[in-house]
């Protein structure tokens, strides 16, 4: 009653069409309150925070191009004779899957480009996730409250690997068929149930007539569906937790300093999408990927050298190639350790990655929330673990591509394999030690800079003849940035005997935790950051520095 009598908006004339549309939508979807809550959401600016965006956008590109490819791909293993335009295969028998992939590559308008964008984007997607995960790991962004999001991201990476693998297998070419055969071998190596799983998966003996159709629904429906859900969950959690930021003046554990989602971040992110799409499309237009016409159709009796999986499965390939071909025979059964041990290791490594945030939280016993990122040097043991893992991963990639290392560097493939076998154990340890030392020396340097200032390079001669280098004191902002991090104390087991002389039972896990804690934060494993007293004493006293 009160509003209709003297409506002030009416007097200003009709509302513009956009406002009307927005009102209409708000009445049904409640977008105003959503926008109010989220439009001013702040995102900090740092290039490494955009690695996740690279993954998100390449995922979108994969979905878009994938939809186009499904329009022309026939997921069938029926045998047909090729009559298409690629002469060196004319008259050959091949599956319909291979035939339709050739059709996409040669006859469908834009088909080859879309195929190449799809495949290149998949490689970039996985590489992006790898680097994004490393960023999160080395800066400690996985700590409370973000452990669940680490798990989401981890699952995305693993599912991405398997989505990639099933997609790579779809064209039913000689290369991917060899890869599927490899996978079948790995499954068969599992004691007792392996054979059953293999028969179930392939609908009988390998290769059968089913796996392309089955991989197809796994590749386009099951795994991407789960991944899409995980991506949404991942993003909701990023919104909910708010983004982390690096330490700096004005940045605390309780605020986020950066640009608002609308309009700045939205414009940047939107623009970045097109940049990512453009870059991947350019690569796909410049460089060939998986030329199945040159590779030929799959036949179980044929195999080629240089048969490797896409890079993200290179670790598994390396494990298999480096592993000696051990096997145990008893009572007419064979246990193929040469394949089964790599398979187990592959799983163990993945699980270790998933669990790391929980392990570190257990060691530190820290229950607080962390929204300020660590500089890698300030967490030497964690950084050393990460670097050791990357080195180990690289060793396995060398193992996975040992034949190409042999031909391109004129080496013996046997020597490379032996190198990988030894480096598998030695390189991570060496990398761990070296990285930790580098981190500690960087911490010492930070301490030095805080206490004595920056070396200016100016040499001054004093009246009595002494030469000194002038050190410039750091600004307040720099001092804050270098000393903002928290340093943990190692966990103590505490007295094992109470005041009455009664012995307390110390559990094994407690001992392990104290040991690990000492390794992380004990003496010699971190450099104490300068205290205010130290700083005051040095800067106020003899001022020659």
């Amino acid at each position: 009653m009160s509003t209709t009598a003297s409506n002030p908006t009416r007097s200003r004339g009709k509302a513009p069409a956009g406002e009307k549309l927005a009102d209409w939508a708000d009445g049904r979807l409640g977008i105003y309150s959503l926008a109010k809550a989220n439009m001013r959401k702040i995102f900090p600016d740092h290039w490494s925070f955009m690695l996740g965006e690279v993954c998100l956008y390449s995922f979108l590109i994969i979905i878009l191009t994938g939809v186009y490819l499904t329009l022309f791909f026939h997921p069938s293993m029926n045998e047909v004779v090729y009559h298409g335009s690629y002469v060196p295969l004319q008259g050959q028998l091949m599956s319909e899957a291979f035939n339709s992939t050739l059709h996409i590559s040669f006859e469908v308008r834009g088909g080859l480009l879309i195929r190449q964008i799809h495949h290149w984007a998949a490689l970039v997607f996985l590489a992006g996730m790898f680097v994004h995960m490393m960023r999160v790991f080395f800066t400690g962004a996985f700590r409370k409250p973000r452990e669940v999001n680490w798990l989401f991201g981890f699952l995305l990476f693993v599912l991405g690997m398997f989505t990639g693998f099933t997609g790579y297998s779809l064209p039913d070419d000689l290369l991917s068929g060899t890869g599927v055969r490899f996978m079948e071998g790995a499954i068969l190596s599992v004691p007792i149930i392996g054979t059953y799983i293999s028969f179930f998966l392939f609908g009988g003996e390998f290769p059968g007539h089913d796996f392309v159709a089955r991989f197809y629904s796994i590749h386009i429906l099951l795994l991407p569906g789960i991944m899409l859900g995980l991506v949404v969950g991942h993003l909701i959690l990023v919104f909910y937790h708010k983004h982390t930021q690096f330490a700096g003046p004005g940045k605390t554990n309780n605020n986020v300093v950066g640009m608002p989602l609308l309009p700045v971040y939205m414009a940047k992110a939107g623009g970045f999408f097109f940049l990512v799409f453009g870059a991947i499309a350019a690569i796909a237009a410049i460089a060939q990927i998986n030329p199945i016409w040159a590779i030929g159709p799959y036949r179980p009796d044929q195999v080629s050298t240089g048969a490797q999986p896409d890079w993200y499965m290179g670790m598994a390939e390396g494990l298999i190639r480096a592993m000696p071909g051990w096997e145990i025979n008893f009572w007419g059964h064979t246990l193929v350790l040469g394949v089964f041990i790599p398979l187990v290791l592959f799983g163990v490594v993945l699980i270790a990655i998933a669990l790391y945030p929980f392990i570190e939280a257990w060691v530190t016993g820290d229950k607080r929330e962390h929204h300020i990122l660590d500089r890698p040097r300030n967490a030497p043991t964690r950084t050393a673990f990460g670097a050791a893992w990357i080195a180990w991963y690289f060793v396995l990639l060398v193992g996975g591509g040992n034949d190409l290392w042999a031909t391109h560097f004129h080496l013996s493939i046997n020597a490379i394999t032996w190198f990988v076998r030894i480096a598998f154990f030695v390189v991570p340890v060496l990398t761990f030690i070296v990285t930790k030392r580098i981190c500690l020396s960087l911490q010492r340097r930070d301490r030095d800079k805080v206490l004595h200032g920056r070396e200016s390079g100016i040499i001054k001669r004093l009246p009595h003849g002494e030469f000194i280098e002038v050190h410039e004191p750091l600004s307040q902002e720099q001092l804050y940035t270098l000393t903002a991090h928290h340093q943990y104390e190692p966990v103590e087991i505490g007295p094992t005997v109470d005041e009455n002389g009664v012995e307390r039972k110390v559990k094994g896990t407690e001992k392990l935790r104290a040991k690990l804690s000492r390794a992380y934060y004990g003496e010699g494993n971190q450099i104490a950051k300068p205290t205010v007293e130290e700083y005051k004493e040095i800067t106020s006293g003899h001022g020659h520095h």
Binding site: D45, W47, F49, M50, L51, E53, V54, Y82, V87, P88, L89, Q90, Q92, S105, Q116, W120, L123, V124, A127, G128, V131, L174, L175, M259, K268, F272, L275, V276, A279, I280, I283, I286, A287, Q288, I289, N290, P291, A294, I295, G296, R299, Q302, V303, S304, T305, G306, Q308, P309, D310, W311, Y312, G314, D403, L404, A406, T407, H410, L411, I413, A415
Partner: protein
């Protein structure tokens, strides 16, 4: 005729007449000269073998022995045939520079005539496969698709899908087949040089060899039509992965740094 007679005192007239006269004599000579090929007889053949033996003694005997019987440094050449010599010497593999896991292809130092002489000498030591004729190895008339199937069945294990080569044990390798003459590919299949198994006609008939050569000519030569852009060596996922990391992710990181460095100025309020 008038035109011709008007120019008979042209300064170049004498040159033209001379050229015509030379062409006529030369042409007549070629037409009527006795065919020398028909005369190729026992004596020419034995002369070639003589020459070949001389070349052998200088370039090969130190490893293969004075009579081609072989030593600890080189295998016996009795019965390897002319095709083996034509392949090994014609691709520069022989004479070997140094012992090693495998003798690589290098610059050819003998002329084809000398190679033929060497081949004739080695062939005289014992029966073996002879150098194939152009008709046998020419890729013309080959069934390319059939050749591809044969290649993937018999050759790809070592030479890769399209003949890009691959690694073998202990530093040995199967070489890239790009730019290898059809004749040499044929001879390699026939004689099985170094670490390669041989595929005699009983195992792989003449026609099959021709098909394989036709396939290689279609997929791994300068006439190959390979759509989709840069081949990245044709080595499969390893080179593709490297490219994706360096140029794919690398480019995107550069773009991300660029975008992050350009930020809106906060309004002072």
């Amino acid at each position: 005729m008038k035109k011709l007679s008007a120019r008979r005192r042209h300064p170049l007239a004498a040159v033209v007449v001379l050229l015509l006269a030379l062409a006529a004599t030369g042409g007549l000579y070629t037409a009527f000269a006795p065919a020398s090929k028909a005369k190729a007889d026992e004596s020419a053949q034995s002369l070639t073998i003589e020459e070949g033996k001389k070349l052998y003694e200088v370039g090969c005997a130190s490893c293969h022995g004075a009579g081609g019987q072989g030593t600890t440094d080189g295998p016996s050449l009795v019965g390897v045939g002319a095709a083996a010599v034509d392949f090994q010497v014609g691709t520069g593999r022989m004479p070997a520079q140094q012992p090693g896991a495998q003798v690589p292809r290098k610059k050819v130092i003998y002329t084809q005539a000398e190679i033929d002489q060497l081949a004739a000498y080695i062939a005289s030591l014992g029966a073996g496969p002879s150098v194939p004729t152009k008709n046998q190895y020419s890729p013309e008339g080959a069934d390319i698709a059939k050749g591809g199937e044969l290649f993937r069945t018999n050759c790809a294990q070592c030479h890769n899908f399209t003949g890009k080569g691959g690694a073998l044990t202990h530093g040995k390798f199967a070489p890239d087949l790009e730019g290898v003459q059809p004749k040499h590919i044929y001879e390699a299949m026939q004689t099985g040089p170094q670490n390669m198994p041989s595929f005699p006609d009983t195992v792989m008939p003449e026609k099959a060899k021709k098909d394989i050569i036709g396939y290689l000519n279609a997929v791994n030569s300068d006439q190959t039509k390979n759509p989709g852009g840069l081949e990245l060596g044709g080595l499969g996922p390893v080179s593709e992965g490297l490219f994706a990391w360096i140029f794919g992710l690398g480019a995107l990181v550069v773009v991300a740094v660029w975008v992050a460095a350009r930020t809106a100025k906060a309004k002072k309020s």
